[in-house]
């Protein structure tokens, strides 16, 4: 048998043995027995130098090829077996994945009013509005006078407003900040004013403190249609993309024209649920009353002009127009989350807080 033939035999036998190996340990034994120092193939290679010069080349090449091939076969077989063995070991290392995480991580919640406020703020940030805040203990001047409330307006009565003194009160709405921000900054102005407001009522639908978000846009060429578009975007963001808004004429001292704004009910179609029953949320009207709004009354601009240190005429109603709106955060949260009683917001029962 020639050396080359012998190499062929060794290669074939070793390849069969490698293929038959069932674990990495026996594969390691095969590596030693076929490729180790004392194995036949390496010895053959070492003996090449003693061969006839004409044979050295072919035998050496054949032995080398065989060695490389076997090494390759062992390596690939080993990675296969090692993977199977790891898989086997890991699958034996089994835990009950349904046990709770540990250590337990407490989960806190923002108050529903804060969640709702931030959600609304984010909508208006996206619409190009900035956020400003103002004092809650406010001057009568900003709360009423500068907002075109006549001196005898009933909202000024002590039954409707908390007073600290004759000219200081707890703001009854976030609207005084309209005047403060216009006094401070020139147009164009796109701001919302979230904040706490106060009125002396206390029952299931009124608490003496509640939260509003005021909106004010003053710029050249702002229209009532722009107000509608802005509030439509708001309504769709908060209550769903299918919502529509309905403007109804109304009256507020500091806007003209004034409107009340309804949002189409998100629990029914035109007042009726899918089962044909009358919707209890909108009382069958198909609309939910959500906020009051309007075009900034020229008298408010005139007031602002008298208060400003800046260049006169920046708030000239022939130059700029604006819209303003005010919405109740509690109202939005109650509608959206089905909260039945305003007082739940202020009880702060942790079961309520953690529900949302």
């Amino acid at each position: 048998m020639s050396a080359i033939e012998r190499i062929g035999e060794i290669r074939a036998a070793a390849a069969a043995a490698i293929e038959a190996a069932t674990d990495t340990r026996s594969l390691e034994d095969l590596r030693v027995s076929h490729l180790g120092r004392k194995a036949e193939l390496p010895q053959l290679l070492r003996g090449v130098a003693g061969l006839d010069p004409a044979e050295r080349g072919p035998v050496g090449r054949a032995a080398n090829d065989a060695r490389r091939e076997l090494e390759g076969l062992i390596d690939s077989r080993e990675s296969l077996l090692a993977a199977a063995e790891l898989e086997h070991r890991l699958s034996a290392d089994r835990i009950d994945v349904t046990l709770p995480g540990d250590p337990p991580q407490p989960v806190g919640r923002l108050h529903l009013l804060t969640q709702t406020r931030r959600e609304i703020e984010d909508v208006f940030l996206g619409l190009g509005f900035s956020i400003v805040e103002g004092p809650e203990i406010e001057l009568v001047h900003y709360n009423f006078d500068a907002l075109n409330h006549d001196p005898t307006h009933p909202a000024r009565a002590r039954s409707d407003t908390f007073y600290v003194s004759d000219d200081v009160l707890l703001r009854t709405h976030t609207s005084p900040m309209q005047v403060r921000v216009m006094q401070r900054e020139p147009p164009p102005l796109y701001v919302i004013v979230p904040g706490r407001v106060y009125r002396p009522d206390n029952d299931a639908t009124h608490t003496p403190q509640f939260h509003q978000i005021e909106g004010l846009a003053v710029d050249e060429g702002i229209t009532l249609a722009d107000l509608k578009g802005t509030l439509l975007a708001f309504a769709q963001a908060i209550f769903g993309d299918e919502r529509d808004v309905l403007l109804r004429p109304h009256f507020f001292p500091f806007t003209e024209p004034s409107v009340e704004v309804d949002v189409s009910c998100f629990q029914c179609k035109a007042g009726f649920r899918t089962d044909g029953s009358r919707c209890s949320l909108c009382k069958g009207s198909g609309w939910l009353e959500v906020l009051g709004a309007g075009m900034v009354d020229p008298n408010v601009f005139a007031q602002v002009e008298t208060l400003r240190d800046g260049e006169p005429g920046e708030y000239d109603p022939d130059r700029v127009q604006g819209f303003a709106f005010g919405l109740g955060i509690e109202r939005i949260a109650m509608l959206k989350h089905g909260v039945p009683d305003l007082r739940l917001f202020y009880d702060n029962d942790v079961r309520f807080l953690e529900r949302f």
Partner: protein, 842 residues
Amino acid sequence: MLVPMTLLRSFCDPQLTTAELAARLTMTGTKDERVFHVGVTEPDGFVVGHVLDVAPHPDADRLRVCTVDVGAGVPATIVCGAPNVAAGQTVAVARPGAVLPDGRKLKAAKLRGILSEGMILSETELAVGSDHDGIMVLDPPSADGSVVSPQSAGLCAGMSLAEAIELSSDVIEFEITPNRVDCLGVYGIAREVHASTGATLQPPPWVEDPGTTEGDAGGAEVVVEAAELCRRFMVRAFDGIRIGQSPAWLKARLLWAGMRPISNVVDITNYVMLLTGQPLHAFDFDRVAGRRLVVRRAADGELVETLDGETRTLDTEIVVICDADGPTSIAGIMGGARTEVAPNTTRVLLEAATWNGANIQRSSTRLGLRSEASGRYEKGLEPEVAADGLAYATRLLIEICGARALPGTIDVGGPGPDPAVIRLRPARVAGLLGKAIDSDRCAEILTALDFAVTPAPAVDESGVLEPTGALDLDVTVPYFRRADVTREVDLIEEVARIDGVDRLPATLPPRNGAAGRLTHAQRARRRAEDVLVGRGLDEIVGWSFTDPGLLDRLRLPERHPMRRTVRIANPLSEALSLMRPTVLGSLLDVARHNVARGAASVQIFESGTVYREHGADGPGAATATKVTGSPADEHHALAALLTGPFGGRSWRGGGHPPAADFFTAKGLLAAVLDTLRVDWAVASAGWSFLHPGRSANVLLGDRRIGFLGEVHPLVADAWDLERTAVFSINLDVVLAAAPPVISYGGLSDYPAVLQDLSVVLADDVSADRVLAVVRANGGRELVGVDVFDVYRGDQVGPGRFSLTLHLEFRAADRTLTDAEVADRRSSITKALAGELGGELRA
């Protein structure tokens, strides 16, 4: 305002259902609050009956057996309990099967053995009047025996009752906005219906005034002394009055509009008010002492007895109408008992006045007395409406009460100023609304609302041609809209609301250069709140109001800054009379609420405003003028409270986590302040409401920004709480100090050397002093030092403790050698020994 549809439709009937009409008016600014039905639901079974015979009931003293012609051939037998039933009367009868307004379905039934085939009805049973003393007689004879009610003429037995009288009506309750005084009268609403629907509007019922201006008004005299509060005072005198019941239609309409029918004269004044919005008052002329009315301010403490029998005490802001014997009525609010119309009245002095709305509102609040009249007056009526009311009432007194108007009208004050003429530019309409409404449509709408509209002249006053004049309109404001419509923008509102604001396009503003974004402080505030939420705290929203007792429960000493509270002058109650000077009270209240409801532990925080009076250093309240900053010292606080175990129990052993204490609260505070990257510290300090040994100031640099500690056990006890840890900081200051941008500081590629160092110290040495000494002596290669262990016990002996620190050395430019680190360490230990008496622990 309650508006019976039968009445409204008599002036303008758009052939819409009540619901459609309500919806239409809502969309033009007259919103319906509710819609309901009054009177019978179905007219079937209600007929006119003629009482043929009345006989006593054999077995019941109070019942009568009546034979009534109901047009059915055979007369019906009806048992009736009313004392006033008599043969010859024309009455309202319900036949078996009829459904009464209260829902009862009538059946033929035996009454004490006699079968009654129906029921003779009272006004109350039909819900068309308030008289329940007897049955309703459809043709009550008046004093002189003539038939009073024109409607009762031509009644015959068996005809449907609905043809004889108004049996039922829908009623809409409208919300009338305060600018629309004209809609406090049904005619004003009819005008709205006309403008909104185009249906024909009947002319106002006051256009033909049967009264006269020439004459002495029966010799009556009027003196208005308080002219500043009485814009107009008009009087007419009548004689030949026959007091009686009003006709059925009038009673029904008043009742359905929420007013109780009383007598024909009083009912007429109320009905005229219902239609025109103008309250009127009828005096019994013969009881007006001296035939002279004087309008003046009341004297302080002056008394008057009002129609309702109450004696009222007056003050100088209240206007009274007096005769020679003193006050007879309170102006604009309620008439007096002494001169009221009585059954024997034959001469009436009818007053229609215009009062100062604000004054009436104040007086009515002051007296606790509100009436249909005061509710209208306080909105501010126009003087012309007084004349309208007087004219229509004159007509009704003549038609219904047989009165004769004595010649002459006393009119003090007269009508209001000439109407304003306002230019309306359609270009401006489009500019404000975002939708073009052309000149013709504007004119059509305004004309329908009784504004007079003419094209604006194409030249200005100086005779120069105006290029844009052609489409502009000059609009004359009718007197009944005088206060509401004074500017072009008010006209634009009229056009917009009738054209339909619901039909505007939805567009977005131009946003010239505006970009919406949160400020750094706003983002940082959200971040601070989120840090606490992320660590398991629930946010609460507490009351801004608190009770004065809070300050004592917190054991605040006199002159403590938190005692500089803002007090509400008219609180809902004493318990809600202060604005909170700290969030702590809110947190304690909420903790108690939840512990009382079984919560084993409470972890909460609030991010909200606290309020104090301006201090001497602040912009004091005294210097706050009408145009400066805020009148009180307000800041945004972030405060947390923890009571009970913080965190859940591990199923892998270890039991419950310990109850939250000082360090739990400090850890959370650190998380907030470190997240915002402010340089903060705490220093032991006493707070009256905190445990004296576990109480600290929170410092930002040298400035105290809040407190941290365990609540004093006596304070905790006052809220029924166990050990409770809290902190509160002025978040405004923290947010201002938080760096908005962090710069890259380089990362060293060289390895750190980590070492532990234990030092034994006297008990009174604080950890932060140790850390300060270590930092000061560790060189700039000392990049980190943490407290690792604190030990007290036998190994260090009494009065001492051991502090183990974890030190991290690293150089930016080289690997530190052992010798360098040993050198730094030795400087540290020397300093600790020298400055703090610290001994290295083996």
